[in-house]
């Protein structure tokens, strides 16, 4: 199964993710930036869904930076799913594959995107 790492601190959304993707993919969820980085380097997922606004030392941008720095995880496509419209330009610069506004898309859109990416890599 395709390995999907979801880095999102909001539990409600985490549940939505899990319900939607839990069956189709091998899903891991990290609820803060630090564990997100760690999991990424150990789990080595095929795709990452990344939230930006997270509490704690590391926010999504730091996570993205670390992921891209780490040669092991640098190649993994990262979909940034966020509420912050100003982040879009930045994350794309930093190497995110795509950026969605949480309120613009629903999980079907995200699934579509994941499928697109999977098709690419296969």
């Amino acid at each position: 199964m395709i390995k999907l790492l979801i880095i999102e601190d909001d539990l409600l959304l985490d549940e939505a993710y899990r319900r939607k993707f839990g069956e189709k993919y091998d899903v891991r969820v990290a609820t803060d930036g630090e564990s997100g980085i760690k999991t990424a380097s150990t789990f080595i997922p095929d795709m990452i869904l990344l939230d930006i606004y997270m509490p704690g030392k590391f926010n999504g941008l730091d996570v993205l930076k670390e992921i891209k720095k780490n040669p092991q995880t640098a190649q993994i496509p990262v979909l940034v799913i966020t509420n912050l419209p100003d982040a879009i330009e930045r994350v794309l610069e930093m190497g995110a594959t795509k950026c969605f506004m949480k309120t613009d898309v629903d999980l079907n859109n995200i699934e579509e995107e994941l499928q697109k990416l999977t098709a690419k890599t296969e």
Partner: protein, 691 residues
């Protein structure tokens, strides 16, 4: 006024008094001198007169001494008496001027014998010698021998001077002093009633072998003889006064006496007054005549100048003090003002050495004034790349132009802070550098507030949106059948939930945009944008949503020049205007879009034939949260923020937006954009800072 001033004032007053006093004295002196000069000639004459009189008297005195010497102490006889006058050159030198007499002192009881002796002397002159008048006094002073050329005087042979008080007084005086003595003025009418002659005697005592006095020698000078003939009296008249009595007047006036002078003369212990009159008016040159007046005027002028200059000096000094005080006060005011501003202000010399720093500078940099003076601003600098400082120095020192920009500095505590700085070179009229003025505004607070705002907006964004996205996703999952098959009713209800949620999402988006605009965080990221593509994509999106319900036509030139605008923001504008056009028109309605260049700008027109905007409400259409009454009726949901945002974006990009509308007929919105987005908050040429 302090002591020094008092002392100075005192000196000035003293000098002034001296000047005044000296001037008055000088004026009197000059006046008198002028008078004297006027009468110089007269005075010279008067001198001569005086000399002459003196000389006459001296001569007479001399004669007496001479005679006394000649007679010696031996027996006196008429022959001897006569001999003297033969031998001496008295008559040659002074013809008729003097009468000389020898007076013997005779006791009353011896008078007859005396008279007898004289008669028998053998000289015919003495045949009828008699002592007269008989006074009855103890001692008589008869004239024994007499030499005179005046017939009136010759009568006096034998006259007893005891009779004349004045002469007696002179005798007594002479006896006492042993010196030649001048008598009071004597009148000959004492003896000769008809005579008008007056004169003076000089008497000298005569002594015998035993040094006891035996008589007197006397010289008689008549008043006229005092003057003699030695002085030229043409046009002059002189009068001799003895006390108030005019003794004598002589001279030849040509006309009326026009000038006169008088002088007190003291001769042989006797005071005379000589008055000299002239028939000439003595005139000096007009300069000399007016000298006293001229001098007086000059003195007055000098004094006035002196007073004026003293006054001027004093008042100018006082003015200088006042001005200095004012300037100092002004300076103090300025210093206080600069000290009081909240921005850091420093003044340095052309090398950058700090000469002055205000309080704010101390507070912001953390360094005290004493630590800063004499040092350079690198004290709190050095945090920027080398090129920054190089550019900075080049601008202010070589180009001599002001430099401004943002700089990062380091406080004394080590804390870094951002500041907005402006340094201006101050030049003199020859464009030489005098000093630099540096002003810095500590942006840390500002930045902190900015950071807070940003964080707030981020937080708000996140906190508001997350639950909305939660609802959206779960509802979508349900509608997709992920939670099982739905009844029609369930589907319907869920759709309503979805719709409502979407509205909420729109509202939150709009509010957050407004927030960002109002906090100045809308950043214009200008990029070369192809408007045609942009509009087409917007239209495409809209068409998806509305299906075929509206007729959208657009007319966009193929060769539309690329505009430097922020595409996301402009997209928002088109989106807003087009969706409004759709929302507020009816099915089958027509929407026209035109984009074309005009006057160096790009003009966009979006026209619909929808419900229009009532005239009364047209002014308020761009207001935040405002919705026209007919709009609310047609589309109940709507934030009222769309046009507000649109207008802000257009204007921030340097453009302008307006519209025309008629109720029931439709609305046309127009806006133009400059080819280069001009105005904008925080234009960042190198790409933007987000977050």
């Amino acid at each position: 006024m302090n002591n020094k001033e008092r002392w100075r004032l005192f000196l000035i007053v003293l000098t002034s008094l001296f000047l005044l006093g000296g001037s008055i004295y000088m004026w009197i002196f000059i006046n008198r001198s002028v008078e004297d000069r006027k009468h110089r000639d007269l005075n010279l004459t008067l001198d001569k007169v005086e000399d002459t009189i003196r000389e006459r008297l001296m001569t007479a005195t001399g004669i007496l001494y001479d005679l006394r010497g000649f007679l010696g102490v031996s027996e006196l006889s008429p022959e001897k008496w006569r001999k003297y006058f033969e031998v001496s050159s008295l008559e040659e030198n002074h013809p008729g001027s003097y009468s000389i007499a020898y007076v013997e002192m005779v006791r009353k009881e011896n008078i007859s014998v005396f008279e007898e002796l004289m008669r028998n002397s053998g000289d015919s002159k003495y045949l009828n010698y008699m002592v007269f008048p008989k006074t009855g006094e103890d001692i008589s002073y008869p004239i024994k021998y007499l030499h005179t050329t005046d017939p009136d005087v010759s009568v006096l042979l034998g006259f007893d001077f005891q009779y004349s008080d004045r002469t007696t007084a002179a005798f007594n005086q002479a006896t006492l002093t042993g010196e030649p003595t001048l008598s009071e003025l004597t009148h000959l009418d004492l003896i000769i009633p008809s005579s008008k002659k007056t004169g003076y005697e000089i008497v000298l005592p005569v002594y015998d072998r035993a040094a006891s006095q035996i008589g007197f020698l006397g010289a008689w000078i008549n008043s006229e003889g005092l003057m003699g003939t030695g002085v030229d009296m043409t046009g002059l008249r002189y009068s001799l006064f003895d006390g108030d009595e005019k003794i004598f007047t002589s001279g030849r006036l040509g006309g009326e006496p026009l000038t006169h002078i008088n002088r007190e003369v003291e001769l042989l212990g006797h005071n005379f007054r000589v008055v000299l009159e002239s028939d000439k008016m003595f005139k000096l040159s007009s300069f000399e005549e007016n000298l006293p007046t001229i001098f007086l005027a000059t003195i007055i002028v000098i004094l006035l100048l002196w007073v004026l200059s003293v006054y001027a000096i004093l008042s100018s000094r006082r003015r200088a003090v006042v001005l200095a005080d004012l300037a100092t006060r002004d300076l103090r005011k300025f210093k206080q003002a600069v000290d009081g501003v909240s921005d850091h202000v420093i003044i340095t010399d052309p090398e950058g050495v700090i000469m002055y720093a205000n309080k704010a500078a101390e507070e912001i940099t953390g360094y005290g004034l004493v630590e800063m003076i004499g040092k350079k601003p690198s004290l709190w600098g050095g945090q920027m790349p080398k090129e920054f400082y190089e550019n900075f120095w080049k601008t202010i020192k070589y180009d001599k132009r002001p430099f401004w920009g943002e700089i990062r500095n380091r406080r004394k505590s080590g804390e870094l802070y951002e500041a907005e700085m402006r340094v201006s070179p101050i030049l003199d009229d020859k464009e030489n550098l005098l000093f630099f003025v540096g002003i810095e505004r500590d942006l840390s607070k500002f930045r902190a507030i900015e950071k807070m705002k940003t964080e707030f907006i981020s937080l708000a964004s996140h906190q508001l949106r997350t639950p909305l996205s939660g609802v959206k996703w779960f509802v979508e999952m349900m509608l997709s059948g992920d939670a099982g098959k739905l009844t029609d009713l369930q589907t319907k209800y869920l759709s309503k939930i979805k719709e409502s949620n979407e509205r909420e999402i729109q509202l939150v988006n709009a509010l957050l945009n407004v927030s960002r605009i109002e906090s100045g965080r809308i950043i214009i990221l200008s990029k070369k944008t192809n408007l045609k593509n942009l509009v087409e994509s917007v239209v495409a999106d809209i068409k998806v949503n509305i299906g075929g319900e509206r007729n959208i036509e657009y007319d966009i030139g193929e060769n539309l020049p690329e505009v430097e605008v922020d595409p996301d923001l402009i997209k928002h504008v088109y989106n807003n205007l087009l969706s409004n056009a759709v929302m507020y028109s009816n099915p089958g309605g027509k929407i026209e879009i035109k984009v074309y260049p005009k006057d160096g700008r790009i003009l966009t027109e979006i026209k619909d034939n929808g419900i229009g905007i009532p005239k009364a409400e047209q002014p308020r259409v761009f207001e935040k949260f405002f919705r026209a009454s007919n709009a609310t009726k047609k589309v109940t949901e709507g934030t009222g923020l769309g046009l507000y945002l649109t207008k802000t974006i257009v204007e921030s990009s340097g453009g302008k937006i307006w519209f025309t509308s008629a109720v029931g007929r439709g609305t046309t919105f127009k806006f133009w954009l400059p080819l280069k987005a001009v105005k904008g908050k925080m234009v960042e040429p190198e790409g933007g800072k987000i977050i």
